[in-house]
């Protein structure tokens, strides 16, 4: 069975397991929705007071916000295995069992669980995006949709890469390194606003350091048909999500390095 269909099997099993507790699932999804929408209420209140930020109005910001939320929710949902990697696999020696199977450990970890509760954040992002589209008269033309889908794919790849890197650190530190949350959760929080609102050093970090701007800010500009206030060339903006895939590639390479070291050190 090839990797993709095996992954599909894993996912189906995970979904069935979670559906056995429908009440818990519903409540946690509702809670996840509530927590994330509350944050947006805060954004709304700020716009109610100030009117605009760096030339953007609420509807436009909502588009960026929604895109970031949706992207992160999907990535968060599919990377649970890496999230708990340190405590569940390295500390307990459970990783050995993965290595004993004739399959890539990364694939097995990817299939560990598909967190359905993340649908809370996902629907919040979609709703915020829809509100933003209505308020700013954004039209979802086919080219715009294509750009956005590409952006989401690249974004999922980027965040997945970050989660994988966080897990890789567990090979050395045993516990998952919480501080990396500043890139994952912190990255999502930063991407909620268009990057030109931030000070320069921060922006540079988010485009050249960890290319979060490339999977949210730039493609969204392209989809809106706007030029980048910061001057990025027009041909670059729709292609920017490629950086996310490149990042994932680098992460997987480093991960492989970590796996080899684990196997040679005897765990």
């Amino acid at each position: 069975m090839n990797g993709l269909s095996l992954y599909g099997r894993y996912v189906a099993a995970s979904i069935r397991a979670q559906m056995a507790y429908p009440a818990g699932l519903a409540i946690q999804s509702a809670a996840s929705f509530a927590i994330t929408i509350i944050e947006f209420v805060g954004v709304w209140a700020l716009f109610h007071r100030f009117g605009q930020i760096a030339g953007w109005r609420l509807g436009e910001v909502a588009l960026f916000y929604g895109l970031a939320s949706v992207t992160f929710a999907i990535s968060d949902a599919v990377t649970r295995g890496f999230d708990v990697f340190g405590t569940t696999f390295v500390k307990t020696g459970g990783f050995d069992r993965l290595l004993l199977r004739p399959r890539s450990p990364a694939l097995q970890l990817a299939g560990y669980e598909l967190r359905l509760t993340r649908i809370g954040r996902l629907s919040q992002g979609a709703i915020v995006f829809a509100i933003g589209a209505a308020m700013s008269h954004f039209v979802l033309t086919p080219p715009a949709a294509a750009i956005l889908l590409f952006a989401i794919a690249g974004g999922v790849a980027l965040f997945a890469g970050l989660f994988i890197l966080q897990a890789t650190l567990a090979f050395w530190t045993v516990e998952s390194l919480e501080a990396v949350n500043i890139l994952t959760y912190g990255g999502e929080a930063a991407a909620e606003y268009p990057l030109n609102v931030y000070a320069r050093w921060f922006r540079d970090l988010l485009i050249w350091g960890v290319p979060i701007g490339c999977v949210t800010y730039l493609p969204m500009l392209a989809a809106m048909g706007r030029a980048d206030p910061l001057g990025a060339p027009g041909w670059l903006t729709p292609l920017a999500p490629l950086a996310g895939f490149a990042f994932l590639g680098v992460s997987l390479f480093i991960w492989g390095f970590g796996v080899r070291r684990y196997a040679s050190a005897g765990g």
């Binding site: 507790y21 818990g24 409540i27 946690q28 509702a30 809670a31 996840s32 509530a34 927590i35 929408i37 509350i38 944050e39 209420v41 805060g42 209140a45 700020l46 109610h48 007071r49 100030f50 009117g51 605009q52 930020i53 760096a54 516990e175 390194l177 919480e178 501080a179 949350n181 500043i182 959760y185 912190g186 929080a189 930063a190 606003y193 609102v197 931030y198 000070a199 921060f202």
Partner: protein, 277 residues
């Protein structure tokens, strides 16, 4: 029984939990780093909003910055989850066995919640204050840092308000504990609590920024005492009589939530006693 003897179990569980949580140093440092980052993001957002024109702002940018740093320093006081011991007990079906201890269950859990929250806040708060009050000014970024309280009187009121914050946090944690016990599941209550608490405490946004017609309601509700009231006192947004009044409100809510919480927990425990846990 002398008061000292009567309090022994509760003092003991408080200090036990406190010392245990202090051992998690790595988590405190990781928490500190994460919170610094989120603090920076929030401050940059404020700065960008203010740059567009601060005519309608309810407080100065400097005060918003102060509020943000204080929020990050005291973040661990926010009651998001039930006490992990209680969640564990509910999961394994062992809540009834808690009644084998010759102590008042509410007071026992309350003392434990106090130890839990204080031990998590203390190291993070120290680190955050060191960063925002000392380090930032040292590198010339003082105006983005955390200044001292706006006056000695404000400092005194602030200290009192922090006591109220701590007591309120524990009372709300006990409420969440009770929900978990009453529903016999650890998956529901805590999750929704976080959303409500974040919004109404002023963490998501200082309550003053919300539309003016909402302000009286937001200021009066109990959860404002977790963040908004103490921090407003700190930078002088509430001073003199209004500060004293707000503190009285804080403590008033503490009393109400403790009494209501006791009654509710007592009823849930009694139901367990009849149902068999």
């Amino acid at each position: 029984m002398t008061p000292g003897a009567a309090l022994r179990p509760y003092l003991s569980v408080f200090s036990g939990r406190f010392q245990l949580m202090l051992q998690y140093r790595a988590a405190a440092v990781a928490g500190f780093i994460t919170q610094c980052w989120f603090g920076v993001i929030r401050i940059l957002i404020f700065a960008a909003f203010y740059a567009g024109g601060a005519a309608h702002a309810p407080m100065s940018l400097a005060n918003a910055v102060t509020y943000t740093w204080l929020g990050q320093a005291f973040l661990a006081f926010l009651p998001w989850n039930p006490d992990p011991d209680v969640a564990d007990m509910v999961r394994t079906g062992a809540v009834a066995y808690e009644r084998l201890r010759p102590v008042d269950t509410y007071a026992w859990w309350y003392a434990r919640a106090l130890g839990w929250s204080l031990a998590r806040v203390a190291p993070r708060a120290v680190l955050m204050v060191a960063f925002a009050s000392v380090l930032l000014p040292l590198v010339g970024l003082g105006k983005w840092g955390l200044p001292p309280p706006s006056s000695p009187v404000a400092a005194g009121f602030f200290a009192l308000s922090v006591v109220g914050m701590v007591l309120l946090s524990a009372a709300i944690t006990l409420m969440i504990n009770t929900v978990v016990v009453a529903t016999m599941t650890d998956k529901g209550a805590g999750a929704l609590a976080a959303a409500v608490v974040n919004m109404l405490s002023g963490l998501v946004l200082p309550l003053a920024f919300f539309p003016d017609w909402l302000r009286p309601w937001l200021r009066a509700q109990p959860i404002a005492g977790l963040i908004d009231i103490p921090f407003s006192i700190y930078f002088g947004g509430l001073s003199g009589w209004s500060a004293a009044g707000a503190i009285a409100l804080q403590f008033g809510w503490v009393v109400i939530l403790v009494l209501a919480g006791r009654a509710w927990l007592g009823r849930s425990m009694r139901r367990l006693q009849v149902q068999g846990g």
